[in-house]
């Protein structure tokens, strides 16, 4: 058995002392993907909301893309969690007999609320009029399909469009706290475990939230550029600059909050401090200092910060935006990694460490994680084909 072999290897690599049951690291790469993917959803949605609620017109070209991206990732958001279970086919128990004192039990409900009430409804109202038009233009199955998507509502009157816009606006307003709830809540799953000093922090939900925004915004920025590249269209540079500006501000906030959490830990230096210090300087050195802070935070901050004062040519900016958004996405992935894996590398006895090696070839977790990360892009491609934002009628204000 491969898994047991890995455990023996981990056992051979134990440093210091670790409770015997802790050698097996129970939350693997899939649980890293879980907050990562939900974060992308929340972040992408919040970018869409910035456009809608705060009426930031420059962001308009990414509005539908953000929503569809959020939906694509939302559709698989539970999969890493479910496929990680020891008994995946019992996952529905969480929905039908939730145990209310458990943070995890509520996830299903938060998820359903967000998917059904916020995302699907907002997209539906945004596209309703266009779907009616498309259903009239198409023939055969597609005609039927669009009709079905409109739920056989075929009102095209200007009043109906105004109503759509009003309701859409209202949903966005509800959506923002919902997105906050969704991801803040994921942070709470970790932050509320007093057994684990690396996780247990009131800051956790807030940090998760801001890092989610950062990653979602970076993702939309990246996808927007890729879509334009594929469609051979010019990027709207004003839009990119505006996204970059928001990315910059939120990244500063995120970095400040995370630093605050670390400074607090360092200054307070409670009983867990020594082991956590060893952890961060040892096992997490690469993923924490190099990837999360260096690649994912300092580098993007430096580039974006520089752009706020001095703007190089459009071409250079575009290339750097592509690089920066990827760097942020990588950085946030490692932030999740440092939380989830890092929290299990040290012993709760505070006397030692275990190790975790990603088994690139035989690891089920690696393949599944990749799968759950790639599928959303296919879903997005399908959604963009079905509901192309560039073929939409002009927006009507409610």
């Amino acid at each position: 058995m491969n898994k047991l072999q890995n455990l023996y290897e981990a056992l051979a690599n134990v440093e210091g002392y670790i409770y015997p049951n802790e050698i097996a690291l129970n939350w693997d790469l899939l649980i890293v993907m879980y907050p990562y993917i939900t974060g992308l959803v929340a972040g992408a949605f919040i970018l869409a909301s910035l456009n809608r609620v705060f009426d930031i017109k420059a962001l308009r070209p990414t509005y539908e893309i953000s929503l569809l991206t959020a939906l694509s990732f939302m559709l698989v958001a539970t999969m890493p969690l479910i496929s990680h279970l020891g008994q995946p086919f019992r996952f529905y128990e969480m929905l039908i007999t939730p145990h209310l004192t458990s943070a995890m039990a509520i996830f299903g409900f938060v998820y359903i609320w967000y998917l059904m009430v916020v995302l699907l409804l907002e997209i539906w109202f945004d596209y309703r009029y266009d779907m009616v038009i498309w259903s009239e233009q198409k023939k055969g199955f597609m005609k039927f399909f669009y009709k079905a998507l409109t739920l056989w509502v075929s009102d095209k009157s200007p009043e109906s469009r105004k109503t759509d816009d009003k309701i859409g606006y209202f949903i966005t307003v509800i959506g923002i706290p919902s997105a906050f709830l969704l991801h803040g809540y994921v942070g709470f799953i970790f932050g509320s475990l007093k057994a684990n000093p690396w996780w247990s922090s009131v800051m956790m939900p807030v940090i998760f939230l801001f890092s989610a925004m950062v990653s979602g915004i970076a993702l939309v920025m990246f996808i927007y550029m890729v879509i334009n590249f594929i469609r051979r269209k010019k990027n709207d540079i004003l839009c990119l600059d505006t996204i970059a500006k928001y990315l910059f501000y939120i990244l500063i906030l995120d970095f400040t909050l995370e630093s605050l959490d670390q400074i607090h830990r360092i200054y307070e230096a409670d009983e867990s401090f020594d082991i956590l210090k060893l952890l961060v300087h040892g096992k997490l050195f690469f993923t924490f200092f190099i990837m999360q802070i260096g690649v994912g935070t300092i580098f993007p901050l430096a580039v974006l910060g520089f752009f706020q004062f001095k703007q190089p040519s459009e071409k250079i900016r575009k290339i750097l935006y592509l690089i920066v958004s990827s760097a942020v996405l990588i950085g946030i992935f490692f932030m999740r990694w440092n939380v989830v894996i890092g929290g299990q590398l040290f012993s709760k006895s505070f006397y030692g460490f275990t190790s975790y090696k990603v088994d690139l070839i035989g690891g089920k977790d690696v393949w599944l994680s990749l799968l759950w990360f790639i599928i959303p892009f296919f879903i997005l491609a399908f959604l963009l084909w079905l509901l192309p934002p560039w073929k939409k009628a002009k927006h009507v204000e409610g």
């Binding site: 047991l4 002392y17 129970n26 020891g86 039908i96 004192t101 709830l181 475990l193 007093k194 929290g343």
Partner: protein, 254 residues
């Protein structure tokens, strides 16, 4: 014998799903300060189990850990334990060394030369059957629960194997059974208790270092022991209300 949680019935499905539809978040918002622990100490006559371990008596023979593995079909590999023994060695230059090779089942070797040792002792570990157990608090389906006797148990036919409880236990007392995909832990040999038999570890201990019994009964062996000796629990700062009392516990032990 499989452990079955009594108070969750799937027949509740319809009732619950209609009740929860759209309402759970709302309800939990209305009720955020509801005390979240699973069980209260029963008033009246019910049993309320506690355990005491006399560290001075433990000779590190590992019989308890061995007996537990056999009695409870715990997987043989050295990563799965309901019960294990740790050896602490504190050197003259104040280094603390801890080890538990194969949970102490095969006995211990002392790697530090005698003249460098300040003190050394053994600490048997097992589930503390916390009265405010963080593990049962976090279980998303309620498969981990506290029995009315104050034992933290798992209904393995119900557990979804999410591992949340494993993360929530501050003492490392839970593991995921690799063959079953569900969590497993010490039950204080619940199946034996129900037949008025002693837990396997208690029977196996040759020195009588392990005591268990009803904390509600002031004359039980465990109550008398705690009264006589000044005991401490592990990680009291976490407020788990552990019911595993150690006598002669050094502060180096976490």
């Amino acid at each position: 014998m499989a452990i079955k949680k009594e108070n969750v019935s799937r027949r509740d499905f319809l009732k619950k799903s209609s009740m929860f539809a759209g309402g759970v978040v709302f309800v939990s918002l209305l009720n955020p300060f509801k005390v979240v622990y699973a069980t209260k100490k029963p008033k009246g006559k019910g049993k309320w189990y506690g355990i005491a371990i006399d560290i001075e008596k433990c000779i590190g023979c590992g019989s308890c850990a061995r007996a537990c593995k056999t009695e409870n079909n715990v997987p043989n590999e050295p990563f799965f334990f309901r019960n294990w023994v740790e050896q602490y060695t504190i050197t003259n230059d104040e280094q603390v060394m801890v080890s538990s090779p194969n949970g102490g089942i095969d006995g211990f070797k002392q790697a530090v030369p005698d003249e460098d040792i300040y003190k050394t002792f053994f600490v048997p570990k097992m589930c503390n059957h916390c009265a405010k157990s963080p593990c049962t608090q976090v279980c998303p389906v309620g498969a981990s629960f506290e029995s009315p006797e104050g034992l933290a148990l798992v209904d393995q036919n119900y557990c979804i194997g999410c591992g949340y409880c494993v993360q929530a236990c501050p003492y490392g007392c839970r593991y995921i059974d690799p063959a079953k995909g569900v969590v497993d832990k010490c039950t204080l040999c619940y199946h034996r208790l129900q037949k008025d038999l002693d837990p396997a570890c208690m029977m196996a201990c040759p020195t009588g270092a392990r005591i268990y019994g009803d904390l509600n009964d002031r004359d039980s062996a465990v109550s008398l022991f705690i009264k006589e000796y000044n005991c401490a629990v592990l990680k009291p700062q976490l407020n788990t209300d552990s019911k595993l009392y150690y006598y002669a516990l050094s502060q180096e032990v976490h």
